[in-house]
């Protein structure tokens, strides 16, 4: 090869990145051995030498940012978030997992438990039950707060397996909501025979009258979560108090089963793959990313038909055969976001809530700064 001095090379055009740099900036390269260029270039002046401004422009962001809902179910949704930085997408993910409040059982008052499941374990199981109550309608309950109608939901569980009967499976639908608060009276107040004995909660009004609870009574999201099994003669009687909390404290308050994203896969055929090789390539992919296109004259050619389905199994670049032909990439600013709600709030609401929390946080930072 002829030796060319660097100085003799043509100038890099101003105001525009060379294509390979551009590729590195916008794509993760999923090579067979390891992914490269996974990082985002944050520094605004990173490309100033070629006259490219890498700073984040609000205008630009507004123009590029898009959200496309792909699938929306009762409990899960998938949407594309296009034109954001991974740190932003990650912030939403983190907020969804850890900072969105829900209601979960925190305190269990056990009057009787003769089942095989130990008290602590039963309480732990109760805690993990998702509760179908909008946490936005409740306040946080701090240590010294009295349990009141605006911060506590009380459930009752009383099951007994009769002697001589068959064994019983206690499921979450046996948890009965007590809109008027606890029914267990405090021992100390038993002496005073006032009209209403003091209980573990101080509800002023029934929760049924508040909000829409009469229409949509509070209950566990799923009726078939097994809590315990009872043999003949065994009994469970308890009261469970649910309060508002965050996933940070305990996973039971996390409103999502999980929330995550993945970057949009981009599968590129660098060279034409034809005929038998094309067929072979199509066959190697377990999720049918590739397809065959007739180019006429009995010739066939492989095309990338469904890149979105790529799971990055790297099967297509496992053998040397297609290593040169196929490039697996990820688009750095296109996120396929999935939210699996536990059921307390629909996933789309969860996301908007997450946005609100992020907003709050930003506001807090701004006020702190100013």
């Amino acid at each position: 090869m002829e030796k060319v001095s660097v100085w003799d090379l043509p100038d890099v055009p101003e105001g525009q990145l060379p294509s390979h740099i551009q590729l590195q900036r916008t794509r993760v390269h999923c090579n067979p051995d390891a992914p490269t260029h996974t990082e985002n270039v944050q520094y605004s002046g990173a490309y100033s030498s070629v006259g490219v401004d890498n700073s984040l422009q609000l205008e630009q962001f507004r123009k590029n940012f898009r959200v496309e809902v792909i699938r929306l179910g009762k409990e899960d949704m998938e949407f594309d978030m296009i034109g954001v930085d991974p740190s932003l997408a990650n912030a939403f993910r983190r907020i969804l997992i850890a900072e969105l409040p829900t209601m979960a059982i925190e305190k269990v008052l056990i009057a009787n438990n003769t089942s095989v499941v130990q008290d602590e374990v039963l309480s732990h199981r109760l805690g993990l039950i998702p509760i179908n109550a909008d946490p936005r309608l409740f306040d946080y309950k701090s240590e010294n707060d009295d349990p009141k109608e605006n911060n506590t939901i009380v459930f009752k569980l009383h099951v007994r397996c009769e002697r001589g009967g068959p064994r019983l499976t206690v499921k979450s639908d046996q948890l009965k909501w007590l809109p008027n608060g606890s029914e267990f009276s405090l021992e100390t107040s038993a002496a005073k025979s006032t009209a209403k004995p003091k209980t573990y909660t101080t509800f002023h009004t029934s929760q049924e009258t508040l909000h829409d609870f009469s229409k949509k009574p509070i209950a566990p999201c799923h009726p078939d979560i097994i809590l315990s099994k009872l043999g003949p003669g065994q009994e469970i009687e308890l009261e469970a108090h649910a309060v508002k909390g965050m996933g940070k404290t305990h996973a039971k308050w996390s409103p999502v089963a999980t929330a995550w994203y993945r970057m949009l896969p981009e599968v590129v055929l660098l060279q034409q793959v034809e005929d038998e090789r094309a067929e072979k390539l199509v066959k190697t992919c377990p999720v049918n990313v590739f397809d065959i296109e007739d180019v006429g004259k009995g010739k066939k050619r492989a095309i990338v038909a469904r890149p979105r389905g790529c799971t990055l199994c790297r099967e297509c670049i496992r053998e040397d055969e297609f290593k040169q032909d196929v490039a697996l990439r990820r688009v750095k600013d296109h996120f396929i976001f999935t939210i699996e709600s536990t059921g307390a709030l629909p996933p789309e609401v969860l996301f908007t809530e997450a946005v609100k929390i992020l907003e709050d946080k930003c506001e807090r930072v701004i006020t702190e700064l100013s």
Partner: protein, 1142 residues
């Protein structure tokens, strides 16, 4: 010629080909079948059953008559003996016992020993014989699941009704409420000639003789070319030729003839003959007189011995005691000695002929039945002797009224003796000169596998401190019999072994029929042979259990015939026939304690088990026994294995193959069988896992919540491993798992994962990963006293000073189940009488009782809960109250976890889920393991487990990883696993594209991630963490106490002190060793140098020696130093202090 040979070859081949097509028959199904009939602890049960059914009867028969020495007409005869049902006598009513009841109420699970007797009674001076049946002479502790046990042959439902876990193997005893197992004892085989070298390198032949009557050790040793006999009864070594002469072999020529024609043997014997002549020993008489002079003195001999001459008696009864001498005919014994000498000389000529003591074929395993039988024999004899003594004493009394012999044998001696031996583990049998300690151990109920592992453990014969490598090394003959992996680390390494999965330990079988059978099959009787013929080259010696029966001219045919008879079931299936071509011997063994294992018989390389057999097995038309009966399978012991050519798989069989392995993974034991893909791991890792599997928490037994053990560790959500092995299914680990399937990402994270630490996901812990329950037992006794008073449990005080402490008590004065118990809480409000000696009359006043409540002393900050309260009666008829205290723990930093590949690590940090990396599919690992754990450990099996587990969860099928299972399909191949992974969209390497949970960007590497079965080990920080500022001190030295349990200080030891000295940190030493420890101010007299004291009345320091307060100085020194001075003074040593400045 060549062509002819070829023809022959072809001919053979044709025959070979005519055999049914060799297709690999899946013989795995045999294994569960085998375990069904055998169980996991059959060796224990068989041994015990043998003892109960046969051994005990033999003992009683051998000692069936006892007679008074005073009046020979007074006798008692045992007619039969048997064991009843386990029971206990409560208020003189026989009450059936269930094992679980014994565990709960601290009683022994024992059954009465009934005898039928005939005896002499005397009333009013008239003697008459009477018979009585069902006389109880004692109680025998019963092994669980043995033929005498209540649980014998019960199905799962019945077991559940009895409160028993169906998966529990049995094989142990319950003595005073604790489960005790008699460990399998390893011993050198008895009655066999062993050729080896002694410490000085001299070749010796030794025989450990053991008969019912005697146990002795005979050693013939070659020292400086001359051969001697060394026997305990002789003061020093005696020349062997003198012994031979004493036994009647007066002719040297005959002795030489007995050794064989080869002049080399004669030459080796020559120096000995010369030596004998130098002592002028030529005739039997001279020899006996010569030996008489060598007999060790100061031994008690009875009159009859004196008459015959002690040497004679020793030669007859002690010297190679296993060879019987009938009517003073020593010929057999001479022959035997000749064989010993010959083998010794062979070893001298050819070093290869030396025996290997560590060879498994030369070992015998002593099981509970044999040990109990020794104990029982001793106790039974003692009982009889004592009965005779008492009867004699009674008969000697001049005025006696009624006399009944049968009343003298119903003492509690046997009951107490057996119980004591089992509970202490000390086998102290004077009669057999046996004094062994630590024979029994408490069954470890830490984990199910630990319990099983205990049942298969083999205790070594040597003490552990010996620095020898031979017995510790892995013996090739161990193959298939003893697990190559399962041995502890450290001092007992290689000495303590474990049985493999299919090993069986034999029990004794009667010799009589075998002997007559041998003679029928053409064995020439030894007594009819001349000395010359003994080693005739073309015939083999036939040796049964160390006893030379005779010779056979066609040993191969003889062996063939014997084996055929065995396969046909005509003789016992455990009899081994071993042709030793080197020694020109054929050994038949029918004794107990040999290890053996089943193998499939092959004829000319073709397995006898065909497809249709297995089909019949599947259809339930066959069982393991029918395979055995029809000669498809047989048991081989280690010796006979030497005559067999065993193919690993059917496909590998050649025409010479005689046997085929059932399944290769059965060379491993129970503990090693849990490891998936152990054959891919570095071998020490498997050994580590064997030790760790026993510490893993999980389910103990189905009845775990009803058990009242002192300490129980349980996992809240135990799981079945995703990657199982066949062994796991066979032993029931899939039902009583001890671990959880954790999704593991192999990557480095946060730096808190160095040195094998693991990083855990907080949300996983929140959701119940690694949660465990620790239960401890508290006990209290409601004691009854001699003066008819007793403790009382009373109502708690509801107000007043102690009310707070008694919050958790119920009205009955006992802690209520479900209450949270804190340190200092009273859990039983008990009062004891002040006076327990003198009898009290009338009503007792309230002041008669003093409080003796018991308080809970748990660690602060742990919220324990009273789980159960149980009331039961103990042995002394006192009410005992047991409380189980439960504490549920979630994993915390410092808790120990381990995978099944000897990879242990502590939890290094706990990280929020959102900070954890996540995969393309949203999977977040439960824990992160550092990849540095792999290169040096080489646990490839763990990686395959991860792959297999990942494939398992994605396709919904449990994958298998049995040892060496790939060829037979009991382990999935990596290629197949990878294919499954690819099919479900994973990379074939198991490495995923992972996003960082912190930055949100993809990681710059693909991460190896998938489920691995993790065990939580019993070592938890909560039980170990300890620190103290100031605290208790030891009274005597005034130094801080030692140990966590006493809230002790942390010691600055010698080495730490050395460091400080080297560093020159003198003030720090001063502070650590004195100020923070035991500073003390002393008054020293400058005159005499002794310690004085400070008289606070006179406000002056005085030296008590000088009676003077003049020259006293005060100085500080450690109290321990002052103590030393005083202690020295007390032993008449005067330490004087000379002060340079004062």
């Amino acid at each position: 010629m060549v062509a002819k040979e070829n023809e022959q070859d072809v001919g053979i081949d044709k025959q070979f080909l005519a055999a049914p097509v060799k297709s690999a028959v899946d013989k795995f199904q045999l294994l569960p079948e085998f375990l069904k009939v055998r169980g996991l602890v059959k060796q224990h049960l068989d041994s015990f059953n043998y003892f109960v059914r046969t051994g005990m009867k033999n003992i009683v028969r051998a000692n069936k008559e006892i007679r008074s020495t005073v009046d020979k007409n007074v006798y008692l005869r045992y007619k039969s003996v048997r064991i009843g049902e386990p029971s206990v006598v409560v208020n003189s009513v026989m009450d059936q016992l269930s094992p679980h009841r014994c565990r709960l109420s601290d009683i022994t699970y024992a059954a009465p020993i009934y005898v039928d007797i005939e005896y002499v009674t005397e009333s009013n001076g008239k003697k008459s014989t009477a018979t009585k049946s069902d006389v109880i002479i004692g109680k025998m502790p019963i092994m669980l699941r043995s033929c005498c046990c209540l649980l014998y042959g019960k199905d799962e439902e019945e077991l559940a009704r009895l409160g028993e876990c169906p998966l529990d193997p049995g094989g142990y005893f319950i003595v005073k409420g604790t489960e005790k197992v008699i460990l399998i004892q390893e011993q050198l085989s008895k009655n066999r000639i062993i050729i080896d070298t002694d410490k000085k390198g001299c070749v010796q032949a030794s025989v450990m003789s053991s008969t019912e009557a005697r146990k002795s050790k005979t050693v013939i040793v070659m020292e400086k070319e001359k051969i001697y006999l060394s026997l305990n009864q002789f003061e020093k070594k005696v020349p062997i030729m003198a012994v031979m002469k004493a036994m009647g072999m007066e002719s040297d020529q005959e002795v030489v003839q007995m050794l064989g024609r080869d002049p080399r043997y004669g030459a080796l014997l020559l120096p000995s003959i010369e030596e004998c002549a130098s002592h002028h020993v030529y005739t039997q008489q001279e020899a006996l007189e010569f030996l008489e002079g060598k007999v060790a003195k100061s031994r008690f001999y009875s009159a009859s011995v004196e008459k015959e001459g002690r040497a004679m008696v020793i030669l007859r009864d002690v010297f190679v005691a296993n060879i019987p001498v009938r009517e003073n005919n020593f010929r057999l014994k001479c022959m035997y000695v000749a064989v010993m000498l010959r083998r010794m000389m062979e070893a001298i000529i050819n070093k290869d002929a030396m025996d290997d003591k560590d060879y498994v074929g030369n070992k015998r395993l002593e099981l509970s039945g044999q040990l109990l039988s020794l104990l029982f024999e001793d106790l039974f004899k003692t009982l009889n002797e004592e009965a005779v003594k008492e009867v004699d004493a009674f008969l000697n009394k001049p005025s006696r009224s009624r006399f009944d012999f049968s009343t003298y044998i119903t003492r509690g001696r046997i009951t107490v003796g057996l119980e004591r031996a089992l509970s202490t583990g000390n086998w102290d049998v004077k009669r057999f000169r046996m004094n062994r300690k630590g024979m029994t151990q408490v069954v470890a109920r830490l984990s199910f596998i630990g319990t099983l592992g205990m049942m298969t453990r083999i205790q070594p014969q040597f003490e552990k401190s010996r620095k020898v490598s031979g017995p510790r090394a892995l013996q090739p003959s161990q193959w298939g019999m003893l697990c190559p992996c399962d041995t502890p680390e450290g001092e007992a390494c290689g000495l303590v072994k474990n049985l493999a999965l299919m090993t069986h330990v034999t029990t004794d079988q009667e010799e009589g029929p075998i002997i007559s059978l041998c003679y029928c099959l053409g064995v020439e009787d030894l007594e009819l042979l001349s000395g010359e013929e003994l080693h005739a080259p073309n015939s083999y010696l036939i040796i049964l259990n160390g006893l030379i029966l005779g010779k056979h001219r066609r040993p191969k045919q003889f062996a063939q015939a014997m084996r055929k008879l065995r396969r046909a079931g005509k003789i016992g299936e455990f009899i081994s026939i071993f042709v030793n071509e080197k020694q020109h011997c054929l050994y038949i063994a029918s004794d107990g304690g040999r290890v053996c294992r089943p193998l499939v018989i092959a004829d000319r390389g073709v397995s006898r088990i065909k497809e249709h057999h297995m089909k019949e097995l599947k259809d339930g038309m066959r069982n393991f026994d029918s395979f055995l009966r029809e000669g498809l399978i047989e048991y081989l012991d280690v010796n006979e294995e030497n005559n067999a050519l065993i193919a690993l798989y059917e496909g590998e069989a050649t025409i010479d193959t005689t046997h085929i392995e059932i399944e290769p993974f059965t060379i491993l034991g129970v503990c090693a069988g849990l490891i998936p893909f152990p054959h891919h791991n570095q071998s020490p890792r498997n050994t580590y896992q064997c030790a760790m599997g026993k510490q893993a928490m999980g389910n103990i037994a189905y009845n775990q919540l009803c058990r009242m053990d002192t300490l129980i560790y349980l996992l809240v959500y135990p799981q079945r491993p995703l990657l199982t092995t066949r062994t796991i299914e066979l032993v029931g680990y899939d039902k009583l798992g001890a671990g959880q399937n954790a999704t593991v990402a192999v990557m480095s994270y946060s730096g808190y994962d160095i040195e094998d630490a693991i990083v855990m996901n907080k949300s996983s812990l929140d959701r119940g990963f690694g949660r465990c329950i620790v239960m401890k037992k508290l006990a209290a006794v409601h004691q009854k006293y001699a003066n008819n008073t007793s403790d009382r449990i009373i109502r708690p005080q509801r107000d007043g000073r102690n009310a707070e402490k008694m919050q958790i008590l119920d009205e009955d004065g006992l802690a209520a189940p479900g209450e949270i118990i804190r340190p200092q809480d009273v859990y039983i409000y008990k009062q004891s009488p002040i006076d327990t000696k003198n009898t009290i009359s009338g009503t007792v006043p309230e002041s008669f009782y003093k409080d003796s409540w018991q308080t809970y002393k748990g660690p602060e900050g742990e919220t324990a809960v009273v789980d159960r309260v149980a009331l039961s009666t103990d042995r002394n008829d006192n009410m005992s109250i047991t409380f189980m205290i439960r504490h549920t723990r979630r994993p915390e930093v410092g808790d120990k976890f381990s995978s099944r590949h000897g990879q242990k690590g502590v939890c290094g940090t706990i990280v929020q889920q959102e900070d954890f990396p996540f995969s393309e599919r949203g999977i977040c690992p439960d824990l992160i393991m550092n990849p540095h754990g792999f290169p040096s450990r080489m646990t490839v099996g763990k990686m395959i487990e991860l792959l297999g587990g990942k494939a398992g969860v994605s396709c919904g099928r449990f994958h298998y990883g049995s040892a060496f299972g790939e060829p037979s399909g009991h382990a999935d191949k990596v290629e197949v696993i990878s294919e499954t992974l690819v099919k479900h969209g994973f990379s074939y390497t198991g490495k995923d594209f992972i996003y960082s949970g912190i930055t949100g960007m993809p990681l710059q590497a693909y991460i190896f991630m998938g489920p691995i079965y993790y065990q939580k080990l019993k070592h938890m920080v909560l039980d170990k963490m300890h620190a103290r500022g100031s605290g208790p001190k030891v009274m005597m030295t005034r130094q801080p106490t030692e140990g966590r349990s006493r809230n002790g200080g942390l010691r600055v030891g010698e080495m730490e002190r050395d460091c400080l000295i080297a560093y020159g940190a003198s003030m720090l030493i001063y502070e650590r060793l004195m100020i923070s420890s035991d500073p003390f101010e002393v008054q020293v007299c400058r005159k005499c140098g002794l310690l004085g004291y400070y008289n606070s009345k006179l406000k002056a320091a005085i030296c008590s020696t000088c009676k003077d307060g003049e020259k006293i100085s005060t100085l500080k020194l450690p109290y321990a130093c002052k103590l030393l001075f005083q202690e020295l003074q007390s032993m008449n040593i005067v330490p004087r202090l000379q002060l340079t400045e004062a």
